[in-house]
Amino acid sequence: MIHLPVLKASDRLFKIDPEEAPTHDLRDELFQLEKEGELEVIRVPEPYMEVKTKYGRIKKIPVEKTWHHKSCGQCGHIPGYSTSIFWLNRAFGLDYYDPTDQTSCTAWNYYASATSNPEAQAAVAIRNFAAAHEVGYFPLIHCGTSFGHYKEVRHALVHQPELRRKVRDIMKRLGKKLVVPEEVVHYSEWVLAMRDRIAERQVIDMSHITATVHPACHYHKLIEEDAVYDSEIYGAQRSAIVTATLQALGINVADYSTWFDCCGFGFRHILVSRDFSRSFSVQRKIEVMREEANPDITVTHDTGCVTTLDQSQVVGKAHKKKVGLPVMADSQVAALAMGAHPYKVLQLHWHNTDNKPFLRKLGIDVDKTWAEFQAECDLIKAGKKEFMTWEDAEK
């Protein structure tokens, strides 16, 4: 009989070694194509931070000069998500650009309805990249799906000469160049790379908080080699994204068995077949988190994930399921740790599941902060101010 050593999953060591990566570094080909005049590469501006990806490649994350590629779902339905990203940039005094010359990546629609094609998808991506390049900033992608999709587009453009030709032709007719960023960077990678600086400015103690993390599918499953990994986090057997940020803030990140499962978003399902989204989100994610980790909060880093995990709990509650778990983005938790206002900045009134017990556990006066926000709304209603400004939000 042959006796094979049996290793527990927790004992396995994943050695990060770029030399043994099953995939190659796409940047080498990008720079080669640039030399051949096929495209132009948008360089990551200096100074930049360095993080490690799945197979040990160093990924450059810009500190500033970031062009914020906003997300339809975040801006439309959970706007405190993107507001918190901007607030963090402002708090550090960084130069960032919030563009109006930007469309959605349109990938949500593509994955939901297939009413598009690779040329259109690539042209939309490059049009947005070109808009960033024209004003001298580097794209920072807010949405997990946009991030994953843009990685796919970049990969396709490198490997498909005919697609490159078609997109170059379209860009020429729009008066634009075929430009491709050196790195496709997700905002949560920026938050992760900034985590020590965020922790230095932390004013709210979070050491008594337990959180679960949901890594967004399109962040770490599409072009997986470009996601951030860290040998100190889960032994680099899964992405360090969000978890590393929360740990730097002193939060206890608890594990649960269905971490790899999607949130239930489903693209078309969340819009026209929500019975699936609700069931999956409650039964495979929220209930499992509650039963196995009983966290104070679950934290994720994508539009669809925050929406689905949060909104699906209403029907779960009606069915007496084990729900009632607040859902936030890492940008919101990071901003909160640094003292951002829960309603003026985090805009938590757009979220559904009751997050007041979580805020109270952090020592935040919920009634007082809500009254402060309401006072701003009253001034707007009375016509005494047109909008709430950053200065109002930072008071």
Binding site: C72, G76, S82, D101, A114, E224, F265, S279, H349, C377
Partner: protein
């Protein structure tokens, strides 16, 4: 309850073999095809990772196997009765053989839409307003979509948002987010460029094949704005 998938060979016997072969050939002609399908070990990892497989009679393995052995009868059935159940999360990319059943499905859906299959039209019923929103405004969802009749299962919270929408949007510090009909403020020139992309890449033809009414509305909106911007473009 989700319906059971009927994979009997005679389900679509009214469709000719040539037509089924032609549609599969369209899938194979897609430039992505050779990078998303390499064969199947039948290990079932894709099914274990698949969220849709837990709630529907849906199997990414069945799809991977059918396309790998080029069973065009079964492929036609799956293209009609199965591909729209996929969540497009790409959890199935865990495949040890390097397949991406999710991307195979993306291609199959695209072929179904391009050829105006009735099942694709049915799958996208009720979705037209979303296509209209993304194609005409450049953002997929917008604050004004948060209405109780659209999201009854999201509870009273949606009433609160709908009632306070205008003020709550103005109570957002970033100036770009004071919008109601789009997620953020989008420049006119940006929208025009988006319309030109739809025009140049044949996306409008796809829409015509799947929803004539929607195509007509989009054409009206786009032609007017393009004309105002100095473009003389007619969508067929």
């Amino acid at each position: 309850m989700p319906q059971a998938l009927d994979i009997r060979q005679n389900k679509y016997s009214d469709v000719t073999q040539e037509e089924k072969d032609r549609l599969f050939q369209e899938c194979k002609d897609d430039e992505r095809w050779s990078h998303i399908l390499y064969g199947c070990y039948e290990c079932g990892i894709c099914v274990a990772a698949c969220p849709s497989a837990r709630f529907y009679d849906f199997s990414p393995r069945l799809i991977a196997q059918a396309v790998a052995r080029e069973d065009t009868d079964l492929i036609y059935t799956l293209m009609n009765d199965s591909v729209w159940d996929c969540s497009q999360c790409f959890s199935c990319d865990r495949c040890p053989r390097g397949n991406s059943p999710g991307q195979v499905i993306t291609v199959m859906r695209e072929v179904a839409v391009k050829n105006g299959l009735n099942t694709a039209k049915e799958a996208l019923e009720g979705y037209g307003r979303i296509i209209y929103k993304i194609m005409s405004t450049g953002s997929q969802v917008s604050p004004d979509m948060l209405q109780p009749n659209a999201f009854p299962d999201w509870g009273h919270h949606v009433h609160d948002i709908a009632e306070n929408l205008d003020v709550w949007r103005k109570a957002l510090p970033p100036e770009t987010l004071h919008t109601i009909e789009t997620g953020w403020k989008v420049d006119e020139k940006t929208i025009i460029e988006l319309y030109l992309i739809w025009h140049m890449t044949g996306v409008m033809d796809l829409i015509l094949g799947i929803d004539e009414g929607l195509h007509m509305i989009l054409v009206d909106v786009m032609e007017e704005r393009l004309e105002e911007a100095g473009y003389d473009i007619e969508f067929d």
